[in-house]
Symmetry: C2
């Protein structure tokens, strides 16, 4: 029974309801639980109606994750106001890891699964807007620390530094998310690994012996 003629705002409301339902399934039961039928049931629609709001499942998932990419940027934003460049750098990294490990399914979706490569032109996220783009935040944090002269003099490319430390932190998160329960590995406590990784990065990049 279609009560007809929805304003754009109402449409947006439905869109968001669908995304919320998908997110709920996604977070608590992983990607494979997100079937169009399950989402539809949760939101009280028929499965095919979702296609009135999203062109396909991929786009629905992408919309869900995009919203949380922005949440990542928001989560990191608070560290940007730290005045000491090195402390800012450290805190930024720690917040990144914390976000990843408290939102493992989203992190997995963002960083650990293959999508069709994302074209910034068609993304809902505004590239280079520090409110939304965590990578540009990282570049900013590293660049300002670089200008402050905290890095070893042999390191001359802030983007390369950023990509290296990102990779290191990502590796920590990715192994934890995927292999933490693997009985093959006698894992050291997560806290120890975080600390060790952070210190390796600092000693490996900073000019003088830093304190994490």
């Amino acid at each position: 029974m279609p009560p007809k003629v929805k304003t754009d705002a109402e449409k947006q409301t439905v869109r968001i309801a669908i995304m919320d339902a998908a997110r709920e399934l996604f977070i608590h039961q992983g990607v494979e639980a997100v079937t169009m039928r399950a989402v539809a049931q949760r939101v009280g629609y028929s499965a095919t109606s979702l296609y009135l709001y999203f062109s396909d499942k991929e786009q629905l998932l992408r919309a869900v994750v995009d919203a949380d990419v922005i949440k990542l940027a928001q989560a990191l934003k608070s560290t940007l106001s730290i005045s000491d460049p090195q402390q800012r750098f450290v805190q930024f990294g720690q917040h990144y890891v914390q976000f990843a490990l408290t939102n493992p399914n989203h992190y997995r979706m963002m960083m650990m699964t293959q999508h069709p490569p994302c074209d910034p032109a068609f993304s809902s996220i505004e590239q280079n807007n520090p409110e939304q783009d965590a990578y540009s935040q990282l570049i900013g944090v590293v660049t300002s620390a670089w200008h402050a002269g905290v890095f070893k003099p042999t390191l001359t490319d802030p983007a390369l530094i950023a990509q290296t430390v990102w990779a290191a932190m990502h590796g920590l998160c990715a192994l934890q998310i995927n292999l933490a329960d693997d009985a093959w590995i006698n894992w050291r406590p997560l806290e120890s690994r975080m600390q060790a990784m952070l210190e390796m990065c600092l000693h490996g990049l900073m000019k003088e012996s830093p304190h994490a």
Copy 2:
């Protein structure tokens, strides 16, 4: 037309043929191309016959990947004979990255997708056998370097060192495999990132300024 009664060796041959067909699809067209029907057609059987040799798709894939886990250990084995502990450490890391990036689909399967956690008791891989278990190789390499005193004195736990450097290298590989084509990131050349990561690890872990 079943010509009946296969010896164990013949059965094994079929098993391997199935695995080879699956691997072929897997390597060249990714996981999603590996359907039971596609594998069956490639090997000249009906889809349901694969279930006479593998209990389900997951086990088939696992068997394929397990075989290549051993290949990883083989690929790393050559570095174990390097006499200088630090050089051995460096070469081990470089070979690891090289294996990951020349076998991205297998690496993705091994390290970047969620399986049911792997129980060593039921694995076809012999844990702690350096011929088959790359992680135990890593522990060995790090431990011997540690005994040789190449690490900073604050680093007292070889396993923690190993897990940290593994995470760092894994991060490099994982981002490359998943996000190399992402237009969002202005990636530095892979070679530069490898070099930078290696140097960060060395400076971050080694006692005195090392040369990569």
